[in-house]
């Protein structure tokens, strides 16, 4: 059985773990490099991206996570996690890891008073629309040729994307009761079967 690690340095990692356990998917908290040994997939949760990036560096996780992803470990970043995985960011900090070929801008929709919920279509999850929660959300400004768009807002703004085994969402499926996005990521992880490849 595959196991999905959830980066548990700061943010709403417990909500991701709860979603995975509702799906019957095995998961574990990642706080130190040794915790990465037994995972087949990784979720970088919502939280504060500056805090998460600093703690990844502090505890020696950055390089190891990068190496694992480049050798094929499936990863999904929600909100702050998307910033962490991006190739580039429009302001100078924190420096993202450069995993997926997208440029993001932080707090692109405004401050907390502008945080919002929107019902969106995500074709990969079927016909039923998805209630997406955006909290001081980052935006995807541009994507490379090999990046697939998974969802957009009505105005065309990209809010979810995938490049190979790397998935990003600017919203928080983990704050809803809708398990479909987690199920989709779990299927990517199962198909990839990282530790046995």
């Amino acid at each position: 059985m595959t196991r999905i690690g959830v980066l548990a340095l700061q943010g709403d990692f417990a909500e991701h773990i709860k979603m995975l356990s509702s799906l019957g998917v095995d998961s574990s908290e990642i706080r130190l490099p040794s915790h990465l040994d037994s995972v087949d997939g990784l979720i970088i949760p919502g939280g504060e991206s500056t805090t998460i990036v600093q703690l990844m560096d502090n505890f020696g996780l950055t390089e190891q996570i990068k190496d694992l992803i480049f050798s094929g470990l499936p990863v999904w970043g929600t909100c702050a996690g998307m910033i962490v995985l991006a190739a580039d960011i429009t302001d100078d900090r924190p420096k993202p890891m450069g995993i997926i070929d997208i440029t993001v801008s932080r707090n692109a929709y405004g401050r907390q008073v502008d945080s919002f919920e929107a019902v969106v279509d995500i074709p990969k999850l079927g016909e039923t629309p998805f209630n997406a929660i955006f909290i001081r959300a980052p935006a995807i400004n541009s994507i490379g040729d090999s990046v697939e768009i998974l969802a957009t807002l009505d105005e065309g703004q990209i809010i979810a994307a995938q490049e190979g085994n790397v998935i990003v969402t600017s919203f928080h499926p983990e704050l809803t009761d809708d398990l479909r996005f987690h199920k989709y990521f779990a299927s990517v992880v199962a198909d990839n079967n990282f530790r046995n490849n």
Partner: protein, 293 residues
């Protein structure tokens, strides 16, 4: 598209979990806090230990001071309004603050009523000493709860008392029979629906942090192990000898609160912590936690 929904208000608090929210009085301190890994800052003119020392009436901070701090960091910025002072809260909302702390650290504006927080688009965090107080605040619309502790003392004892009280009551309600819930709601002076919800879910409907007296990495880890979801540090950082070091150490301790080796490592060589006060010898009228109900 909908803004100011309950999911969006409580959701921001979810993003702060496992993090440290630091009191800062200017842009320089805000940068230090952000560089140390704070997940948010609380903008205020004086930290609680100075408010305590200066006496007089403590009010909302000057908007230009709050805006300076807002401009200097990308992490969320919180600010305090007086208990019951809904106009100060309206002003903070107009400034685009990310969270309002309706705080006992400031002098209360209304001794009977707290702010009706459902009226606002921005979310509120409120202090509590026990579960009844927490549920009354949530009933009024607080989207995040913190213990009151005893701010500005550098003494963790009250924060521990309040967290144990809240978490202990939750455990008790979890294991009750349905028949006991109404009487419990009466005894706690809490809305029945929220007591019932705790019985069914086994937890508070909002995120719960510790505040009031945290001065060291060990204090932060103690509160995390007791069961809160993150910490506020007020005077503990910028009233210590080495704010940068202490700030960073408390952030690391809050993440790896269950790992004594890391706690030992980050506790080394931090210099002199903020001076502490004994809450037991403090006259009741000087105890900030007594403010609000």
């Amino acid at each position: 598209m909908a803004t100011g929904t309950w999911a969006v208000k409580t959701g921001l608090a979810q993003m702060l979990k496992g993090g440290v929210i630091m009191d800062v009085v200017d842009a320089d301190q805000a940068k230090i806090a952000e560089d140390a890994g704070a997940c948010a800052v609380m903008a205020l003119e004086r930290v609680p230990s100075d408010i305590r020392k200066d006496g007089g009436v403590a009010r909302m901070s000057d908007p230009s001071m709050i805006e300076n701090i807002k401009r200097s960091v990308t992490i969320p910025v919180m600010a305090k309004a007086r208990i019951g002072h809904f106009v100060e809260a309206q002003i903070l909302e107009s400034l685009g603050i990310d969270y309002v702390d309706e705080s006992e650290v400031l002098t209360p504006a209304d001794e009977s009523n707290h702010i009706w927080k459902h009226n606002f688009t921005i979310p509120f965090v409120c202090g509590c000493r026990n579960l009844g107080e927490a549920l009354r605040r949530i009933g009024e619309g607080a989207a995040m709860i913190r213990t009151k502790g005893e701010a500005g003392t550098g003494n963790i004892v009250e924060a521990v008392r309040h967290a144990r009280s809240v978490l202990g009551e939750i455990e008790r309600i979890k294991s009750m029979n349905k028949e006991e819930l109404m009487a419990t709601a009466r005894d706690l002076q809490a809305p029945f629906e929220l007591v019932n919800q705790i019985h069914e879910t086994g937890k508070l409907p909002v995120v719960n942090f510790a505040a009031g007296g945290i001065a060291t990495p060990a204090d932060a880890a103690l509160m995390m192990q007791i069961g809160v979801e993150g910490v506020f540090v007020g005077s503990g950082i910028f009233k210590s000898e080495n704010p940068q070091l202490v700030a960073k150490a408390i952030v690391r301790a809050t993440t790896n609160y269950n790992n004594p080796d890391i706690l030992a490592e980050v506790s080394r060589g931090l210099g002199v912590a903020m001076p502490g006060l004994d809450v037991r010898t403090m006259p009741i009228e000087e105890q900030l936690a007594q403010r609000g109900w």
